[in-house]
Point group: C2
Chain length 146, copies 2
């Protein structure tokens, strides 16, 4: 497996171990992880810290040229918030663990020129399938569904 997707999965697993939603992400620049994170809705009572947002926040304030040469890895297809953030910072490439359990704004990203690659990794799929089956209300809250 891609070593950076593996790092994103480790973040997702850490989130699950904390009682949270198992979605993780890493921001990679020049072959190194410069930000990593996972969904913190439960852990921090957060409405905005999806995995991708947490990774970007943990990367800190960065010059535009770094984002524009970075790759964002995420275990799950990015929702509208996270996709909008990818567009804000002009991140040119997103590698997605899976989009079987949730389809995010991949079409919007592609329409704006973002290179989107979907792995559909079985670990990512099984982690989300199990979580959604166990905690459907929490999952619905995270994606703004009733």
């Amino acid at each position: 497996m891609d070593k950076f997707l593996h790092e994103a999965i480790k973040e997702a697993q850490q989130g699950l171990d904390e009682g949270g939603i198992p979605i993780g992400s890493v921001l990679v620049y020049e072959g190194k992880v410069i930000g990593r994170g996972h969904n913190r809705r439960v852990q921090q009572g957060s409405a905005i810290l999806h995995g991708e947002m947490d990774a970007l926040e943990n990367a800190g304030r960065l010059p535009a040229k770094i984002y524009k040469n970075a790759v964002l890895y995420t275990t799950l297809s990015p929702c509208p918030m996270c996709s909008g953030t990818i567009l804000l910072y002009g991140i040119p490439k997103v590698i997605i663990g899976e989009n079987k359990t949730f389809m995010g704004e991949e079409a919007l990203l592609k329409s704006r020129g973002v290179n989107v690659e979907v792995i559909n990794d079985t670990t990512c799929i099984e982690m989300m399938e199990s979580f959604i089956a166990n905690k459907p209300e929490l999952w619905n809250e995270d994606i703004g569904e009733e």
Copy 2:
């Protein structure tokens, strides 16, 4: 002036007083402010706490039905990140202080059925014009520009 836009402007002014970027926002539900915030890039070294994001984060975890009956006020046209967040939570109405100094993703919001109202309030415009003239590099960083 609309009293809620006035509250968003108070948040923007507070951000400016703190040495930050003067953009503020309030989330309104059933005629009451349930979340308020301002851009905290400088104050918290944050890459994701735009004014709208801070207001939503400060509102806390909410059921979908609240977002879907809320109104988001923001002093400036919402960037792709904040617009994506509006779409994630299905916030049906956004009232924007101004879009003269920055045009966000209003077209995307409208294409998804969001009711977008732009006031072009002179206080909002002057606050951003002055800020952008004084700190162009900080402003560019906030919108992912070189």
